[in-house]
Amino acid sequence: SALPLNGAARDTDDTMDLVQHYLEHYYNLPKDTKQFVRRKDSSPVVKKIQEMQKFMGLTVTGKLDSDTLEMMRKPRCGIPDVGE
């Protein structure tokens, strides 16, 4: 957006970037789903969030709840969890 983001909007944007990168890198979310991630209810993204929650032993909600976001921020190995 042309206007500088206010704090809350910038945080949301950062979080979406984090989620986007995490699901692409560790769970094989295809890179062309960029426009969907902002709409959190899109099915490819929901499925990948559920896959990540299941792998990590979290409650499988398909939503970006606090546990899921907290787990995404934890230090970890850079190797993908599924796929090549």
Binding site: R76, G78, I79, D81
Partner: protein, 377 residues
């Protein structure tokens, strides 16, 4: 547990590793021992053995880097991604482990514990993927609350790595099924079918190598004493192929695969392991079966399959006219030799559970014994 797609794994059990560079967060020896300890975690539950090389290419190249560092995955600064590693294979990065030097690497958990992350990454270097078992070492998220003093692989990790390489070879001190014939003392030492990987003298004692252990036998005592190889020489692999003492140098040379190490007493000599091909063996020779130094002639005989080479210790080169058939010059011995050493002017050859006492002057076998006759069972 998971393996990588296609289940890549090493087709050999003896692997080399090299620490290419160091983080400034820790003293070098702390990095060395963290890596050694991390490898031992996997060595203890598989037939795999590891030895360190200090130059050139190794199966597992270990390095510290920041941000973009030449592979396809840049690091991301402090936090988040701590390290990554590549599965087994012949390509450039296969087997390698990279550590993000924007992390604060520590010996404890005040920062990011190097041993813990290295043990995880080396699991990848051996072919394990991530596990969804949160108790497993191969779980993708770093757990700073791991009890380092009582670290153990989870059963999931063990199942995973053994699905690729199987369990460790039964070692003489593993609990064996008590059988009537086994005597109450160390059953392996007096097992009538016992064979040795290698035998060498060492400053008047005799070393009998078997798997990950070595019996030390003084000529002044009846009983051998039983040790793990790693208790003397931590960086020496188990399951060695050959060993001999060059008494004129006070050095024992130990061979495994296409490499050899030099030991003076219990000190590993710097600059080893070296390739056996530096001794003059052709590339067709992949390993040595046995070796012995003839102090009269200052020559070393290397036994490979049913032939042997003669090496001039003074000129440090192979004599021309070799290899020759072992049976031709050592009639009654072999055809294959597991180990050999010299004592009282005789050569003692070992093949399976048989031992041949050979008189090098009379050029004949003078006694045929059990391999473990030196243990006075």
């Amino acid at each position: 547990f998971r393996t990588f797609p296609g289940m890549p794994k090493w087709t050999k059990t003896h692997l080399t590793y090299r620490i290419v560079n160091y983080t400034l967060d820790l003293p070098r020896d702390a990095v060395d021992s963290a890596i050694e300890k991390a490898l031992k975690v996997w060595e203890e539950v598989t037939p795999l053995t590891f030895s360190r090389v200090c130059e050139g290419e190794a199966d597992i190249m270990i390095s510290f880097a920041v941000l973009a560092h030449g592979d396809f995955f840049s690091f991301d600064g402090p936090g988040m991604v701590l390290a990554h590693a590549f599965p087994p294979g012949p390509q450039r990065f296969n087997g390698d482990a990279h550590f993000d030097d924007d992390e604060q690497w520590t010996k404890d958990t005040s920062g990011t514990n190097l041993f813990l992350v290295a043990a995880h990454e080396l699991g990848h270097s051996l072919g394990l993927g991530h596990s969804d078992n949160s108790e497993a070492l191969m779980y993708p998220v770093y757990n700073p609350r791991t009890n380092l003093a009582r670290f153990r692989l989870s059963q999931d990790d063990v199942n995973g790595i053994q699905s690729l390489y199987g369990p460790p070879p039964a070692s003489p001190d593993d609990p064996v099924e008590p059988t009537k014939s086994a005597s109450p003392k160390t059953p392996a030492a007096c097992d009538p079918t016992l064979s040795f990987d290698a035998v060498s003298t060492l400053r008047g004692e005799i070393l009998f190598f078997k798997d990950r252990h070595v019996w030390r036998k003084s000529l002044r005592t009846l009983e051998p004493v039983f040790y793990s190889i790693s208790s003397f020489w931590p960086s020496l692999p188990s399951g060695v192929d050959a060993a001999y003492e060059a008494t004129n140098k006070d050095i024992v040379f130990i061979f495994k695969g296409n490499q050899f190490w030099a030991i003076r007493g219990i000190e590993m000599q710097a600059g080893y392991p070296r390739s056996i091909h530096t001794l003059g063996f052709p590339a067709t020779v992949k390993k040595i079966d046995a070796a012995i130094f003839d102090k009269q002639k200052k020559k070393t005989y290397f036994f490979v399959e049913d032939k042997y080479w003669r090496f001039d210790e003074k000129k440090r080169s192979m004599d021309p006219g070799f290899p020759r058939q072992t049976a031709k010059d050592f009639p009654g011995v072999g055809p294959k030799v597991d180990a050999v050493f010299e004592a009282f002017g005789f050569f003692y050859f070992f093949g399976g559970s048989t031992q041949w006492e050979f008189d090098p002057n009379a050029k004949k076998v003078t006694h045929v014994l059990k391999s473990n006759s030196w243990f006075h069972c």
